[in-house]
């Protein structure tokens, strides 16, 4: 019964109009219960969802192309550079054209990434071996494309072995998934024409690691488009893809760091900057007004948090694509601060065949606020630049700007504000909006080690809840360092970290109190009224 309601809600939501769910929204209960219909939980948007969003991680495995097919395109978004794809591979010239396009993205990075990458490592040393998570990307010819630690040259024979293992098992009409040893796992993901491998000492399940590799795969697609990627390897199996990716490794590096730390990537959700809804609505309205013919998405970010997102009607942004945009902005923030950036970006879940063009700029050089305007037109830089100015003008006029700047400056919120003594930290995700909220990490989890440990605990709970054949509805776990609780309903997903000595009675009370609090704060923590142009 419960599942039934759920799937109905989903079907209509996919179509973009929600007659019966909207009707239900009129009565938003104070404290959500497990039988809430999706779309009425705290944090559910009031009109329509912002993202093409999915319940869990499964959708990452569906092919991007299929996703794109099911949607109506406003305009063909294929790269406006007709020559490049065709000539690619037939002449060296063709490739160089492409490389130049990518350089726009890369140009600014040199300074920031050069020092952060410690590539020169002895791959026979214990130091190299003991890294928490290695990630390798190679071509189907066994050529190294990326390695998180150590140079690709030093690792070329190791990667050759990886490829040999993949093809050996394939020869039996079988697929290699993973290798398990004491203390570490090796996980393989074949995404023709690429092969991705993770070697992890974390407790993550294979499924979680594969999901992370999917992110890396889509990050690469986002730099090149799948069309171009396929094209290159069809023409030259032996192609050294590093030529095209060089300078963009820091994007993968940064994404990997985020995967270890950002719950949003785990939950397939995005977090918002807490902001009173009146101000947020004003910001959204200003963005909505500053539109242009070619504009598909306008995204305003505060650091790694979403302030608002305005989209073209009927066009949805997949959370994965949004995370790739976040990653692009966050890993190259210094460059976009200087002025206005204009860069091609493929949003692989939207359309893996072509490039969008993103206008990226900070509202003020020293500000965290970054505006991303995604356009279908390569030549539209100036009209988007104009959009930005119109947006700023309106924002200032409505004097929401000051409030926005204040909100950015204050830290997100501490768990003390919730007023539950036993509660240390939590993650709450509204399924229908694809948004999540979470307080700042308390003192106990501030160190990098503890932060990753806590994330590891959440990851374990997540993978147990979303087990492909033995899913669970709830988990309660008492340990010596903390008590954890996870709860999956049709409307939301909740993870709690409680003090170690809490009793179950206290824990249950805490959950109810927390849900009430989230309901009370929802218009500050979530984007309840997303807008379209």
């Amino acid at each position: 019964m419960e599942g039934d309601v759920h799937s109905k809600g989903r079907a209509s939501w996919d179509l973009g109009n929600l007659p019966h769910v909207e009707h239900l929204r009129i009565e938003r209960p104070d404290s959500p219960t497990p039988d809430l219909v999706e779309g009425t939980e705290p944090g559910a948007g009031q009109q329509a969802a912002m993202f093409v969003h999915s319940r869990s991680v499964e959708d990452l495995t569906t092919e991007a192309d299929r996703d794109a097919e099911s949607r109506v395109e406003p305009q063909p978004v294929a790269d406006g550079d007709p020559g490049s794809c065709e000539t690619l591979g037939t002449s060296e010239n063709g490739l160089q054209v492409e490389e130049k396009i990518i350089e726009v993205v890369q140009a600014p990075k040199e300074s920031s990434w050069a020092e952060s990458r410690t590539k020169e490592e002895d791959i026979c040393s214990d130091g190299w071996r003991s890294h928490r998570k290695h990630v390798f990307v190679l071509s189907e010819a066994g050529k190294p494309i990326y390695s998180r630690y150590g140079t690709e040259e030093a690792l070329s024979s190791t990667m050759g072995v990886m490829m040999a293992l993949v093809s050996f098992v394939e020869a039996d009409r079988n697929i290699i998934r993973s290798i398990h040893a004491d203390g570490y796992n090796v996980v393989f993901l074949s995404k023709s024409p690429l092969v991705l491998v993770a070697v992890s000492r974390t407790c993550q399940s294979d499924k979680e690691l594969v999901r992370e590799l999917q992110y890396i795969y889509y990050q690469i697609v986002s730099l090149l488009t799948l069309t171009q990627l396929n094209h290159i390897f069809q023409h030259k199996q032996n192609y050294d893809l590093r030529r095209l990716l060089s300078g963009s490794e820091h994007l993968i590096d940064n994404l990997l760091r985020q995967l270890d730390r950002d719950p949003g990537l785990l939950l397939s959700a995005v977090t918002c900057l807490p902001l009173p809804s009146s101000y947020r609505d004003a910001v959204s309205a200003s963005l909505q007004a500053a539109k242009a013919e070619s504009l598909v998405f306008s995204i305003l970010l505060a650091g790694e948090r979403l302030v608002t997102l305005v989209r073209k009607k009927d066009q949805f942004l997949h959370h994965m694509d949004l995370h790739l945009v976040f990653n692009l902005v966050c890993s190259s923030s210094s460059s976009f601060r200087e002025g206005e950036g204009w860069t091609p970006i493929c949003l692989p879940k939207f359309n893996s065949a072509g490039f969008f063009h993103a206008h990226i700029s900070y509202l003020e050089p020293a500000s965290e606020l970054c505006l991303i305007l995604v356009s279908t037109d390569r030549e539209d830089f100036f009209s988007l630049s104009d959009c930005k100015h119109r947006f700023l003008e309106r924002l200032r006029k409505r004097n929401a700007y000051q409030a926005l700047k204040e909100a950015v400056k204050t830290p997100s919120y501490s768990v003390d504000q919730v007023g539950i003594l036993e509660l240390r930290h939590f993650l709450y995700k509204s399924k229908s909006s694809g948004l999540f909220t979470s307080p700042e990490l308390p003192g106990v989890y501030q160190s990098e080690e503890e932060q990753e440990r806590l994330m590891g605990l959440y990851q374990e709970l997540h993978s147990r809840l979303h087990h492909s054949t033995r899913p669970l509805l709830s988990i309660y776990r008492c340990g010596e360092t903390e008590n954890l609780m996870a709860w999956l309903t049709s409307g939301f997903e909740l993870y709690l970290c409680l003090t170690p000595l809490v009793t179950k009675v206290q824990a249950v009370t805490a959950v109810n109190k927390l849900l009430k609090w989230i309901r009370k704060e929802e218009d500050r923590l979530f984007i309840l009224s997303p807008l379209t142009y």
């Binding site: 033995r470 669970l472 509805l473």
Partner: protein, 473 residues
């Protein structure tokens, strides 16, 4: 037309099992020499070499990332491959096919096969593989021992002889958490009766000086053992899953019967040998007993295994293999042990029924649980019906058993006390507790219960069954 649309479900099954040593055929063209045993034997030579080659490559590959801890399992879409290196350079590999569903297609197209990749638990089948080796070692000693005694020429036939039969007794579809624990079920007993048994053991060891170790079981449960824990664990496994089921006595099918002395021959007892001579009176009788190998401080020693049983009581006497066992010895043993053991068995039986009556009717089935103590290997399950030679039947859904396995995996990772309570999609609650080397798993079927009620319920169980060993709230 309609009849064909039936889905077919296949359980996990053994695809292959092989033993190899890469140092036996290091040169090209000599790869076959590495293979010491391969099941199924009819596989083509090149295919064998290919599969062993892949295993070697994977072992080598994992050494890049940790030289000391190579691969334990390989997951592929179609199967799981388990690796175990019990002795230096000797590898045992077991390949288990994932369970699968065959879905018929219309228009005469071949059926679609869907592999269920998450169904096989590494911990369970890894344990099964280690058990295979332990069982081999119990009856044959180490691989190294055979190599010293007669080289590959001796080892290969030993492997063939043992594994050919043993692999047929593997029932992979019914392996579960109990295989991971591989524990021993102890018979609950009052002090008085326990002392009686101990004095019986002492008396026999006093009178039959040759007896080196003794183990006493009742109702397939252990009461007393003079062996090291690990040896007893595997011997217990052999006795309860192989030897006893083969000799279940028809006249004692109803277990809790009182002593009904009958004159059989001139002795007033039910004692008989389960190993060795079936009938002492037979002039042709052979006095050969199975040999086993147990640990000693400096390696291992070889022993005769005499299993003697009277009604539900069974005693194992182990005697150094260097001694030859004669008819005279067996007759002395029979005369000494037979009557005493018969008496003892009926004592235990009486005591047991009495205790049961005092404690009231069996309340256990109300709670479905598995308990295991790592310190003494004690295990108790109310989930499993009686073990038989072939399958161990459980009274719960296999998915729930796998959830127990998942929780056990989580426990194994962290070396601290923990408790996990989960609600499965089927509205069953599963509780796992780990405290001070003990593990307890409880399955509750209370659809509308909440976390607090489930917790209370488990507390009640701990109070009645385990004297509050588990205090972590």
């Amino acid at each position: 037309m309609a009849a064909v649309t039936q889905e077919k479900q296949y359980t996990p099954s053994l695809l292959s099992f092989f033993v190899y040593n890469p140092s036996f055929g290091p040169r090209e063209g000599e790869e076959e020499k590495k293979i010491l045993f391969y099941h199924p034997s009819e596989v083509e030579k090149n295919e064998k070499i290919r599969n062993v080659g892949l295993c070697e490559a994977i072992v080598q590959f994992t050494r890049t990332f940790c030289p000391t801890k190579p691969v334990k399992s390989l997951h592929t879409q179609k199967n799981r491959q388990f690796f175990f290196e019990p002795e230096d350079s000797f590898w045992i590999v077991m390949i288990v096919r994932n369970p699968m569903v065959e879905k018929p297609n219309k228009d005469g197209k071949p059926p679609t096969i869907e592999y269920q990749e998450e169904e096989v638990l590494d911990t369970v089948y890894g344990a099964v593989l280690r058990q295979c080796y332990s069982m081999y070692k119990l009856f044959n000693g180490t691989f190294g021992r055979a190599m010293e005694a007669g080289g590959v020429e001796l080892l290969i036939p030993k492997l063939e002889k043992f594994f050919y039969r043993y692999l047929q007794t593997l029932h992979l579809q019914s392996c579960d958490l109990l295989d991971v624990f591989s524990g021993i079920s102890f018979f609950p007993l009052d002090k008085m009766t326990y002392l009686k048994i101990q004095s019986f053991v002492n008396r026999v060891e006093e009178n039959l000086r040759l007896v080196k170790y003794t183990a006493f079981l009742y109702n397939d449960q252990l009461i007393w053992s003079g062996l090291e824990q690990d040896d007893m664990r595997i011997l217990y496994k052999y006795l309860t899953t192989s030897l006893f089921p083969r000799h279940s006595e028809p006249e004692l099918a109803g277990r809790d019967c009182a002593l009904r002395p009958e004159v059989s021959g001139n002795l007033l007892h039910y004692g008989r040998f389960l190993t060795g001579p079936a009938n002492l009176k037979d002039p042709e009788a052979k006095f050969r007993f199975p040999r086993i190998f147990v640990h000693t401080e400096d390696g291992s020693e070889e022993l005769h295994l005499i299993v003697y049983k009277a009604m539900s009581a069974a005693v194992c006497f182990m005697i150094s293999a260097s001694v030859e066992l004669t008819r005279d010895f067996c007759e002395r043993l029979d005369a000494l042990v037979g009557p005493q053991l018969t008496l003892l068995a009926s004592d235990i039986c009486e005591q047991f029924t009495l205790n049961r009556r005092i404690s009231g009717p069996d309340k256990e089935p109300q709670f479905k649980f598995i308990y295991f103590n790592h310190m003494n290997l004690a295990e108790k399950s109310t989930i499993h019906m009686r073990k038989t030679a072939s399958v161990s039947l459980t009274s719960v859904h296999p998915d729930l058993m796998k959830i127990l396995g998942d929780i056990n995996c989580d426990f194994a990772r962290v070396d601290e006390d923990e408790e996990v309570i989960v609600k499965a999609m089927t509205d069953y609650w599963v509780v796992g507790k780990k405290s001070d080397q003990r593990e307890l798993y409880v399955i509750l079927n209370q659809k509308n219960a909440n976390l607090i009620e489930v917790n209370e319920e488990v507390k009640r169980l701990c109070a009645t069954q385990f004297n509050n060993i588990f205090f972590l709230d």
